[in-house]
């Protein structure tokens, strides 16, 4: 399995460093963004393989982020939604908004890794 370049967009610094430590420990490269606006810029400039996107953030939240992705026709990275809402509805909504996968908080380390590596295996769509 190859090393992936993962963009983590989350407003919680501790969650970002947690995700970074999990992924870097597994040999992946991580770039971090503390809000949606900066995250979107980094996604465009860095072209990551996978984006881990917190759906609930101030100013530009995950939904707005995904709307912009659709609008601008960005197809490169795999999008994984991350949220504290784990109801079937929120999973469905995330998929409809364009997310390829969904991880709910709190997540187990392996679940997060599995989701990232599963996305990285497939061809970019």
């Amino acid at each position: 399995m190859s090393s992936l370049k993962v963009l983590v967009v989350d407003d919680e610094p501790d969650i970002r460093s947690l995700v970074a430590m999990i992924l870097e420990g597994a040999g992946h490269t991580v770039i971090e963004a503390g809000d949606g606006k900066r995250g979107f810029d980094l996604m465009v400039s860095e072209s990551p393989d996978v984006v881990l996107l917190d759906l609930r953030m101030p100013v530009i939240d995950g939904w707005e982020f995904m709307r912009r992705v659709r609008e601008q026709g960005i197809k490169g990275p795999k999008m994984i939604g991350v949220s504290a809402h784990a109801s079937p509805d929120s999973i469905k909504e995330a998929r409809e908004a364009g997310c390829d996968d969904y991880v709910s908080k709190p997540f187990a380390m392996d679940d997060l890794l599995d989701a990232v590596e599963r996305s990285g295996d497939g061809p970019g769509s």
Binding site: E12, P13, D14, I15, G25, P58, P106, M109
Partner: protein, 699 residues
């Protein structure tokens, strides 16, 4: 030769004696107290007359006859007085005095016998003796004559007639006796004959007066009965007691009685001249209820008549008295017929009263439902028939406006209308449909109310009706939505620290051996930070929950503001790059709970440390009524779009995650300020930086 006068005298004697015997028989039959007296009086007078007749026939006076005549004559006076006493009681002294007068007059005659023989002549003392006899007798009989007449005035018709008949009878007696004496003393045979004959003719009148025959009683009643129709109309009064009282008074008038009652087994409806306790005793003494007859009970002679033909327990009791000592069968018949009419009237009013009670309680029920704020509606096939005030208030329509609608379904929200109409059809068809549901109701002003309806089909004599109780649950829904949102927010806020802590913990478990020193520090810092965040969040959530439930006990006491501010600043000092200036006069005191006041100030200060500028000012002022405390800084201030929801739980600015906090601080501040009788707001008039202000009451 026996003269014609003697025959008439004999007839007179027979008349008196017959009346005496009749009265005695009556007394034997009915135990009527006055009867023995009248019997004795008339018998005495009869004997006196008879002795005179014997003397006439025999021609000479046997020894002692004269004396016996006189004694009997005077005795008749005393009996007549006693008769009067049994109807209109005499005072003790009057009785003694009259008895003494009678005895004295009798003794006088015994001591000084009057002259005898044909055409005796009286002289000197003898005239005085004769006069005293006549005077005493005349007084004993004449006084009742006037007394009966005087007392009769102003009495009800039948009583008046009875008393006047008695007065007439006494007058007739005096007349008879004086005529007889005149006849004896008169020297003209023709005059004596005419006088005696006229005395005889008065005898039947005596009987009519002492024991009035049916036809006479009917005549007396006639005028009372004339009023009957009018009074029966008057009986249609609304109140049972009033009817009973009127009916009783009329019954008493009808037979000339004075005491009576109308009673049920448990209560007395009307009484006249008799104690209620006495009525209860009489009722209890009744051997067989529902049977009308005379009886003597507890010293009363009473007739008890059932008021209902079926012999129910309501009765009318008429107590015999001195003026109406006896009732004939015709009077009993009249009374029992009257009692039945009264019974019907009472039953009718009882029905009306029951109906009115029921209507009253129904209306009270409707009013009670209105008071509870529940809408109450009755519809027929969807169209409104009745709506209470609460429903009208709820919808904003007037009754007439609602009445004009073809169906109340027009008020339901369009998307539910079809379903509700179908449900109504099923309900009217008798199908089982849910009785309770929530729906939307469009008010007149276009707003939509969330309501809960409880609906029931009611079969009435006028056809099927639907009754609905409508409850406005908009506020409940709002509270529920707020609570749901609060719980979702709280869960979300809890997930972040939990995610971080669980994640770092498992990272430690799996990768500790491969971790650098720097990584270990990052992990332990994050664990501490998130743990503290979790602790604060849980503590705040508990505070809010207690405040919402009103379970946070407050101990209000006068507190010096300055001191409290200094204390808070000591326990929550400003970070190194910031400074706090306190401006409050020493004598300023507030009525507050110390712990809660400190928490308010701490939360506002912490906010200023996190989001505010470098210099922070805390000011306390007396605005004349309350103490106003402001916490301001020279930072960027609260973004305009955040201000309206600033004090709502979990409303936070964009950078909040960087600076920590639970999102509950200001919500708690507001709840605590309000719980202590004050309030808090964000001062939008402050151009530079943020300024929070709160008020507190003064002691």
């Amino acid at each position: 030769m026996v003269e014609v006068t003697t025959y008439f005298s004999a007839a007179l004697a027979i008349g008196f004696l017959s009346l005496g015997v009749l009265a005695a028989v009556q007394w034997r039959r009915r135990h009527d107290p006055p009867s023995p007296y009248i019997s004795a009086a008339l018998t005495s007078l009869g004997l006196v007359t008879a002795l005179g007749v014997i003397e006439d026939i025999v021609g000479e006076q046997p020894e002692g006859v004269e004396i016996a005549s006189l004694v009997l004559f005077m005795a008749s006076a005393y009996f007549l007085l006693l008769f009067r006493h049994s109807i209109l009681p005499l005072s003790g002294p009057a009785r003694v005095l009259s008895l003494a007068a009678i005895l004295a007059a009798t003794a006088l005659v015994l001591l000084y016998p009057l002259p005898e023989g044909e055409n005796p002549t009286y002289e000197g003392f003898e005239i005085l003796v004769l006069f005293s006899i006549i005077a005493v007798w005349g007084a004993c009989v004449g006084e009742p004559t006037f007394r009966f007449w005087i007392v009769s005035r102003g009495r009800p018709l039948v009583q008046r007639a009875r008393l006047r008949a008695l007065a007439g009878a006494y007058a007739a007696l005096i007349l008879i006796i004086f005529i007889a004496v005149f006849a004896i003393l008169g020297h003209n045979e023709t005059v004596a004959t005419v006088a005696t004959a006229s005395a005889v003719s008065l005898v039947p009148l005596l009987w009519a007066a002492f024991a009035p025959p049916q036809w006479l009683r009917r005549a007396w009643r006639a005028r009372e009965e004339d009023f009957r129709l009018i009074e029966d109309l008057a009986i249609y009064a609304a109140d049972r007691r009033e009817i009973a009282q009127r009916a009783l008074n009329r019954a008493l008038r009808l037979v000339g009685a004075e005491q009576g009652f109308i009673a049920e087994p448990e209560s007395t409806l009307a009484v006249e001249q008799i104690e209620e306790a006495e009525v209860h005793r009489l009722m209890a003494a009744r051997p067989t209820p529902g049977h009308s007859q005379w009886r003597e009970a507890l010293g009363h002679r009473v007739v008890i008549l059932p008021l209902r033909p079926d012999g129910g327990n309501e009765v009318m009791g008429i107590v015999a008295g001195p003026i109406a000592p006896l009732f004939g069968s015709d009077e009993l018949y009249q009374l029992s017929r009257y009692a039945e009419v009264v019974g019907v009237a009472l039953a009718r009013v009882r029905l009306i009263e029951q109906l009115r009670d029921q209507t009253d309680s129904n209306e009270a029920l409707l009013h009670a439902i209105s008071d509870l704020g529940e809408g109450f509606v009755i519809t027929q096939a969807g169209r409104l028939e009745y709506a209470n005030e609460a429903y009208l208030r709820m919808t904003g329509y007037s009754f007439d406006e609602l009445r004009a609608l073809p169906s109340l379904l027009d008020l339901s929200v369009p998307e539910e209308r079809e379903e509700l109409a179908e449900r109504l059809r099923q309900r009217l068809a008798g199908d089982q449909v849910s009785d309770h549901y929530e729906t939307g109701l469009m008010k007149k002003d276009g707003r939509i109310l969330d309501v809960e309806a409880a609906v029931k089909l009611l079969q009435t004599p006028q056809g099927p009706r639907i009754i609905s109780i409508i409850r406005d649950i908009t506020e409940r829904k709002r509270v529920q939505a707020f609570r749901d949102q609060f719980i979702a927010n709280a869960a979300h806020e809890l997930r972040t620290p939990i995610t971080a802590m669980v994640g770092f913990a498992s990272l430690l478990e799996k990768r500790r051996s491969q971790m650098s020193e720097r990584e270990m520090d990052t992990v332990s810092d994050a664990l501490n930070r998130q743990g503290e965040r979790l602790r604060l969040l849980v503590a705040n959530l508990l505070d809010i929950t207690r405040l919402q439930q009103g379970k946070l006990p407050l101990e209000l006491e006068p507190l010096p503001v300055n001191e409290v501010l200094e204390d808070v600043l000591k326990s929550t000092p400003a970070p190194e790059d910031k400074s706090v200036a306190i401006d409050a006069s020493d004598d300023l005191t507030v009525l507050a709970d110390r712990l809660r006041l400190e928490q308010i100030i701490t939360n506002l200060l912490t906010n200023a440390y996190r989001y505010g500028g470098e210099s922070i000012a805390v000011q306390a002022k007396d605005d004349g009524e309350d103490v106003v405390v402001s916490v301001s800084d020279d930072g960027p201030g609260v973004p305009g779009e955040l201000v309206p929801s600033l004090f709502e739980p979990f409303s936070r600015g964009e950078d909040s995650s960087r600076v920590g906090g639970s999102g509950l601080g200001l919500a708690i501040v507001r709840m605590m300020a309000q719980a202590q009788g004050g309030d808090v707001w964000y001062d939008t008039t402050n151009g530079l930086g943020a300024r929070f202000m709160f008020t507190l009451r003064q002691p």
